[in-house]
């Protein structure tokens, strides 16, 4: 049926491309997303992001409509639940306003000043999903977003962190797909939360565990975390677990579901990139140790 050229250089071409692909993967692993690979990534995203941004204006309503049609059966129940939550939230707001007024009064009496610890928050739209896990947002370096900054959903639950930044866009890597664990605190115990393959649940490991962890306990980011500020809500424990020797493992369901996100909030943390960079350099300098016997240098920070 089809008239094709039978000259076969297919196999050598395949082998060449596979070798190039494996070399690229090796470069990417060794460069940890930086270097030439990082420049290539940023360059491509800079070119494609405006197209994605324009396309998202058209396709987001279509996606919303299709999703709404798919969820039409549950909309009534969802509406009722949302109304209840709204009433609860309004009651809480009134209570908080009272407390805030009292706080202002007390601050005035004792002449206290605001410590200025509030982090800048940038709200961004999700304009694309390059693969099954990552998200592209419509805010970038020109909006003050920097690589590594924590990303939350609109309820303040932890989503992940910024992976790549261009001038007008950024790519978010959710914590459920990240390679590094998240240092978390459950009650008074500190543990590591690790992603699991093909699961939206995460695995919690607590070393030096002393007491059991119960289901529905809240999991928050720990002060020991180098990637996230302390106290961000992450998820809740699914099953009770008791320490075995001094190790405790259980499962955690993250509060945030990256698949359904349309808006995210990027935290400017560490607060000032210049100060943070200086701080990081200083930290690296302080953790660089030289062994006199072999003159080798080991860097422990980062």
């Amino acid at each position: 049926m089809l008239n094709r050229d039978a000259a076969d250089r297919t196999l050598p071409t395949l082998i060449t491309l596979l070798v190039i692909g494996i070399l690229l993967m090796t470069f990417d692993v060794r460069a940890s997303g930086g270097g030439v690979v990082g420049v290539l990534r940023t360059g491509t995203q800079t070119i494609v992001a405006p197209v994605q941004k324009a396309a998202s204006y058209v396709v987001n309503p279509v996606a919303d409509m299709v999703q709404s049609l798919a969820n039409v059966a549950t909309l009534r129940q969802e509406n009722l639940a949302l109304r209840e939550r709204l009433a609860e939230a309004e009651a809480e707001l009134i209570a908080v306003q009272d407390e805030s007024a009292r706080l202002d009064l007390l601050e005035q009496i004792y002449e206290l000043e605001n410590a200025g610890s509030d982090l800048r928050r940038t709200v961004a739209n999700v304009i694309g999903r390059p693969d099954a896990v990552s998200l592209v947002i419509d805010k970038g370096a020109s909006d003050g977003i920097a690589k590594g900054q924590p990303v939350l959903d609109t309820n303040g639950f932890l989503v992940g962190s910024v992976h790549t930044v261009t001038q007008g866009s950024a790519t978010i890597l959710p914590m459920i797909a990240g390679q590094d664990g998240v240092a978390v605190v459950i009650g008074e115990q500190v543990g590591i939360l690790m992603p699991q393959v093909a699961s939206e649940e995460m695995r919690l490991e607590v070393r030096d565990a002393r007491i059991p962890i119960l289901a529905e306990e809240r999991v928050e980011t720990s002060a020991a975390s180098i990637n996230f500020p302390a106290g961000l809500p992450v998820g809740e424990v699914i099953a009770d677990a008791a320490p075995s020797l001094d190790l405790l493992t259980t499962r955690v369901r993250p509060y945030s579901d990256p698949d359904t996100l349309r808006l995210v909030v990027v935290l400017a943390w560490p607060p000032d990139p210049i100060v943070a960079a200086t701080g990081a350099d200083a930290a690296e300098e302080t953790t660089t140790t030289t062994t006199p016997s072999d003159e080798s240098t080991t860097t422990e920070g980062g």
Binding site: L2, T13, L18, G21, T44, A55, D131, V133, E200
Partner: protein, 167 residues
């Protein structure tokens, strides 16, 4: 590959990537893999096999560059799928259903290879939390799309109105 055909294929790849990364991946129920589908269908055209492999490689590289996965991972997976498609295309040319099933099988193979190679390179979470359902739903969606669009796609790339018309 002539310049005009090259431009057509380039625009198709770009469109597939943009639609895939903006619309398709936002939907939770209908999840075809347009780029994978395009690469498989290219094997049915009169393009040189080496050109098909090259397009597959660069399409995968483009997706890798836009996402957070390891650079080159999808590139080698799409290249392998394109090679399998080139080697088996004669068996697919038996009718609309045959082409659709062939596309579905190759899509399934591609996703399995992606999961395997990804796991080998420490990217086990690449397919997301719904990896198992994705492994079956994406091939089904691609099978349906192939049944609807394969003939039109081949005629468009080859610019031959008589190509790929099953009776």
């Amino acid at each position: 590959m002539r310049a005009r055909t090259g431009l057509t294929v380039f625009l198709m790849v770009l469109t597939a990537v943009v639609v895939q990364t903006t619309l398709i991946n936002q939907l939770q129920f209908v999840i075809p893999d347009l780029v994978l589908l395009l690469v498989i269908l290219l094997a049915l055209t009169r393009l040189r096999p080496e050109a098909v492999l090259g397009v597959a490689f660069f399409s995968g590289l483009l997706i890798d560059l836009l996402g957070t996965s390891l650079l080159g991972l999808r590139a080698i997976v799409l290249t392998m799928v394109a090679y399998a498609a080139i080697r088996t295309r004669e068996r697919a040319e038996i009718g609309r259903v045959g082409v659709a099933l062939w596309v579905g099988l190759l899509t399934f193979g591609g996703i399995v290879i992606l999961a395997l190679v990804g796991t080998l390179f420490g990217q086990g979470t690449l397919l997301g939390s719904d990896a198992v359902s994705r492994m079956f739903l994406v091939p089904i969606a691609n099978t349906i799309l192939a049944a609807l669009t394969a003939g039109l796609f081949v005629r468009l790339v080859d610019r031959d109105a008589s190509a790929f018309r099953f009776t």
